[in-house]
Subunit: 301 residues, 4 copies
């Protein structure tokens, strides 16, 4: 990731100017504000603004007059109780606004999370930069042979080299053609809203994205998960690290009950109870499908 001198100056200026506020302030998030956290080769996540902190969750749950409670330990217990019992509304009382630079194919997954506010850089209005995502060799994986929507072993040798060369030369060529079509030197110049259609989906775009903490947790649970595609997972992980600093109690509860948790079906509960009684349960006697049993054994091996 490279920021222009001008962009860096704007970020530095924003960070140099603390002002007094009466709102809840989360010191753990203040230290991140505006700074661009690098993700992938040209991407980043920048926290632009936030609303609330751990105490604000408690305050809303209690519909209270004051700004917090007496004891942090009480706050933690209540926050864990709310998370455990799926009381989501108090978590919606915190909000975060991010500036994200990301490849278009990642943006297409991301946007499926509908409960968020988005302003994307417009390629109808402006010209996109010459920046494309080219995977690290370690990320250049083959199609998984067991998972229809996953990756297997890393490509090696000539095949890896061929793929990398293709990705690079195609991106360069497509951007050259984009510029050629747009050019107004001795020609009219194709409309931007049309020229953009020739660009590959590893080109970078940018957006402002704003959501509440409950929906952000939902995003993180799905996208920071091991089954998520690597290229969106690294964004989710970068965001998760900031959230841990912003609302440490809520994030701790989220980690325990959601990220580190597991949902058992009625069948799985039954099997576990039999196992606790010492019974040797097999796939056949479990009543589960092959896939279900594989996933079950993955946890309870």
């Amino acid at each position: 990731m490279t920021l222009s001198a001008e962009q860096q100056a704007e970020i530095d200026a924003a960070r140099a100017n603390p002002q007094p506020t009466l709102r809840a302030v989360a010191p753990g998030m203040e230290k991140h504000l505006y700074t661009a956290q690098p993700v992938l080769d040209h991407g980043f996540v920048r926290a632009i603004d936030y609303m609330g902190d751990d105490a604000a969750i408690v305050q809303a749950a209690r519909v209270s007059y004051g700004a917090g409670t007496k004891h942090v330990s009480n706050d933690e217990g209540l926050i864990r109780y709310l998370m455990r019992h799926w009381h989501s509304t108090p978590f919606e009382m915190c909000e975060i606004k991010l500036h994200v630079k990301l490849p278009v194919f990642v943006a297409r997954q991301w946007i499926r999370h509908r409960t968020a506010n988005v302003n994307e850089y417009s390629a109808r209005y402006s010209i996109l930069d010459r920046e494309f995502y080219i995977p690290e060799p370690a990320q250049l994986a083959a199609q998984s042979t067991v998972n229809n929507q996953g990756r297997g072993a890393v490509l090696e040798g000539a095949e890896a080299a061929r793929v990398l060369a293709l990705l690079k030369s195609d991106a360069a060529q497509m951007y050259d053609h984009y510029e050629e079509m747009l050019s107004q030197d001795d020609q009219q110049g194709l409309a931007r809203e049309l020229a953009r259609m020739n660009l590959p989906m590893n080109i970078y775009t940018q957006w402002y994205w704003k959501t509440d903490l409950h929906n952000l947790f939902h995003f993180l649970r799905l996208r920071a998960d091991a089954h998520a595609q690597y290229e969106i997972r690294v964004y989710a992980e970068a965001i998760a690290a900031m959230v841990a600093d912003w609302v440490p109690l809520a994030f701790g509860a989220f980690e325990d009950y959601r990220m580190g948790g597991v949902t058992l079906s009625g069948k799985a509960i039954d099997v576990l109870k039999r196992m606790l009684k010492g019974e040797e349960v097999t796939r056949e006697s479990s009543g589960m499908s092959i896939g279900e049993w594989r996933e079950f054994k993955g946890v309870w091996k």
Copy 2:
């Protein structure tokens, strides 16, 4: 509206403790934070938190790196352009959180605005206070004879006195019975989640309510409108006054294009064009229904 000494102390404490932040700060809103703005006889609106300011709208619309633009006049022009062309997403980048105390029948209208986050005081968990909305004599209006869902002339004399007396005595009696049923003196005491069902809908409830500026404008357009019921309109007006201080440029555009604006149908455009050419258009020659024509003449009388 009366706050307990403890509640006022909590508000004072929150207002006494400015802290430095790197976020966008809106001085016009800082002065309102936490203070309870009285509405109706026992209600209030308190701004608890906010995110963003006029510059944040511009910043999101431009997906920019810095915190604002050079010239306020440019910001105003862009904000008016966005409002005029229904580009709503940049306005969604501002957020506000309110603590509201309001009668239940008002809350039932309010909650119909779905794009918002809400934590309401729980009458399953807690006991409601003995506070009921009793209208001012000037608000004790008869059913409108022209509008099926509106008010007509103010009630007078004995009828007004009778209504007021009924509202007051019924509220008092129902609350007495609420307490009687809940009481655990020499009896088990009815569950709170059941006892509450006997309370009338002018009892006050409270909630934390959080929404973005675009959806807040939508709320204000419908609820600060002359056709809205008085009892919700006064809340909308109290909020509007705070929003005018928070994001003056956006609020100015909203006032001009939404609150002070009007939508014309294709038929109405046609009629106005004929009138501009000097034609005398009648209801019959307008092609409008009776209701449409009355509304049209209401503006273009």
Copy 3:
């Protein structure tokens, strides 16, 4: 529940008139259409319309051209897979529209489910009927002594009689006063939008409510749960019974993975693994709070 002769005639007429359609038809739901399923003393749930069936979930998940698949067993496996892995979007492709008559205090809980479409009977525009929810003696419960938002033992003897008498006489009196205030005999008559505020929250209201199957499942999981208040749970149960007939495969998966399932925290997984190895784990050695441990033992006793 009593329907007027006219209402029953309208329902009968709607049920008497099958017409051909090319859309997916769910025979299990057709048999319920329009019929009012009684709930509580005066309430009901009526299915008014639906979109899709089990095959439509599969069709959307596969973005297919045809109307279904060859084998029901394949559909079931895919639907269970989707449910197990929280792939919610295919379930959103089914939609249901209900007409519900319910007490206001139940409506106030229900409306908190925001992802739904609602048209409520307007008490600004019309006059409400004289119908109030009065609990069966078996539902007249004391406040729970262990759960702040729950019920304990059923009230008995004189206390139960006193409560019932109060609820009945208060409802009757409030409705008398409602009519008195509205009356235009020898007086102006208070506006309907004001008179309604004096009515208690056990009065019945009605609405059309429409939602997709994914959000309906979420509603059912929370409201058909043992912790939900009885008065909303009976509505959820009536709806669940219809859904089981409408989309039997999806409902089966929902029952197994959501209603009959349980979510384990990271801590709980760890404890279960130790128990599976034969360790005797206590609350102290579990690392769980008292509440967490009680809930854990409730499942794994």
Copy 4:
């Protein structure tokens, strides 16, 4: 647009099998069901399912027991009233499900309408077809010189030929490389979730898209508008034609009040009033900005 014989057979089979239903049936939409309406060079829109009709809007607005009203003329008056006064909830009681094949850059605009349900063909799971949008010569337009996000004159001669040739050869080459990278002949084969990133944004994707009539009208107002990009506008127009057959009364009201309507600011109302009195108003005396005045004169020339 070309459908495979198998796809056409699936569509024909679905259309050949009418079944009885008790639900509201809209004959105007039945005739469209499943048939693929061609849009652009390879795209289409297919109506897969619908819920409700004009009478269902009225039924919900009245929270009625029966299926409709006595007189169509009453229905029309009420529907026009609801549209005129922005009573949106009754329109939400109709729902439509579409199968759409569209270029990715169009899908990226479309998805910004968040209040909808979507299942998109997964390029992680499956291999995309070799189908790219190549504009008709008449759509190959230059960048507008007056509108930063619009098109100007059509490209001509050598420039048009060059652009078309580039678009075609680039698409072909990128798809060749996509297949090369995926190939498992004598190599491992790149994961599908990675290979897709090299495809240009004029490749076609497909999705099931479901929304309610109110949100569909909002979509149509923005996307069937003259300012929308041509490539999404043609989809909106194809959908609008189906909606006109589905709910003719609601669509008529939508056309008059939304598509053919205009919103006037407070300033514009003032200017029109002065013009009606015979005053000659200039841009300077109007108080409007240059852009606002140009738009105003565009209507009231």
